[in-house]
Symmetry: C2
Subunit: 221 residues, 2 copies
């Protein structure tokens, strides 16, 4: 009764930790983290809110499960290039894609580290690839951590929902003195378009290349 996947809602009207976590994630995606509550989760599950507490000791533990649910959604079947730097970029992009699908849960990913086996295995893949390119394991681990933090940091700024209610209106443009920020004005007038995807990619490539020279990484041949 523990390992049935897919459109889960076990045969008998009984709950599952997985089903609860999935429903919680769906609810957060739909209505936002602030609007999420155990009572609404209970409603979504068509069950008394307190029933959830038989599977999770509290809301925090449920959030941990939600984060892990997201990690399981990373597409690990992507085609990976041969070159080490392109391979790393591919892995990281796959991770970003999965996370990007859950803007309201990003803040949970960012602040609730998970150390369960599936996630560690994921890290292992990256670390091993870097090691194969010549990095010491400790350095590889540090690099992967930087990739991860950059990714969610960038995602938070891009699509992350504000914690603590919607943000206020932007300040009156009239109160800004353009002469104090000439370069920003220049960028704006140059037709500045904010494409988060290409910007993220640019930064990721920069970091990968920089690490490459910093640690002397190359593909073995």
């Amino acid at each position: 009764m523990e390992h049935n996947d897919a459109l889960e809602r076990p045969t008998r009207p009984t709950l599952t930790a997985r089903h609860i976590a999935q429903t919680a994630l769906a609810t957060i995606d739909a209505n936002g983290l602030d609007a999420f509550s155990m009572r609404k989760l209970g409603a979504a599950l068509e069950v008394d809110p307190m029933a959830v507490y038989h599977y999770f000791p509290n809301k925090a533990a449920l959030f941990d499960a939600v984060v892990e649910t997201i990690y399981t959604q990373i597409d690990t079947s992507v085609a990976v290039p041969d070159a080490w730097d392109a391979a790393i970029a591919t892995y990281v992009s796959a991770m970003r894609t999965a996370m990007r699908a859950h803007p309201h849960a990003l803040v949970l990913i960012a602040t609730r580290p998970v150390n369960t086996a599936p996630v560690l295995v994921l890290v292992e893949v990256l670390v091993a690839r870097l090691a194969r390119a010549g990095a010491r394991p400790t350095d590889a681990l540090a690099m992967v951590n930087c990739f991860g933090t950059y990714t969610i940091g960038h995602l938070l700024a891009d699509v992350g929902a504000p914690v603590g209610g919607p943000e206020g209106p932007p300040p009156d443009a009239a109160t800004l003195d353009p002469s104090a920020i000439p370069t920003l004005v220049a960028a704006y007038e140059a037709g500045w378009v904010f494409d988060a995807d290409v910007q993220f990619d640019s930064g990721l490539r920069a970091m990968i290349a920089g690490f490459g020279t910093q640690f002397g990484l190359t593909d073995p041949r």
Copy 2:
């Protein structure tokens, strides 16, 4: 009556938006974001909780002010090296230092963008320096954004307080299969110590250097 700085509590027992924001930040620092409430803020201010609503329309707006308070704490008087890459690293580190002092508020910084004049001026400094090293303003802006997102992403993972209550206990180490994560085990056995400061610095230098070659930056001479 609007511009008195420092250990602020205006002459008459009356409130100020600044004083409220500062007290709110102090309360968040001391007790955490989840424990923060308008009632406790009122108590800290020795005032009826509802009094705050005369200065901020709601808690979200107050949070915006809290974030801005943190930005004002960035030390802008640091000595800046001549080399463009070292200069950028110095600016970013100063930003990180200010943010690092408020672990419980990091998540607010990460998700509540501020576009007020003081912050834009800060961005201008960085963008202008990059432009002086040969970057087009739009590229410089993109780079600065990457530096910022990397910084708070890294800080969140480092010292950020979990959103939604404390995290649960780590999974039983016995359930982990070491043979599935050999490189991680190797890193651990090699005496892996996690020094967030040097790791952040390493990643930042990598990104700066990578951007440097990506955009052909050099100091004018």
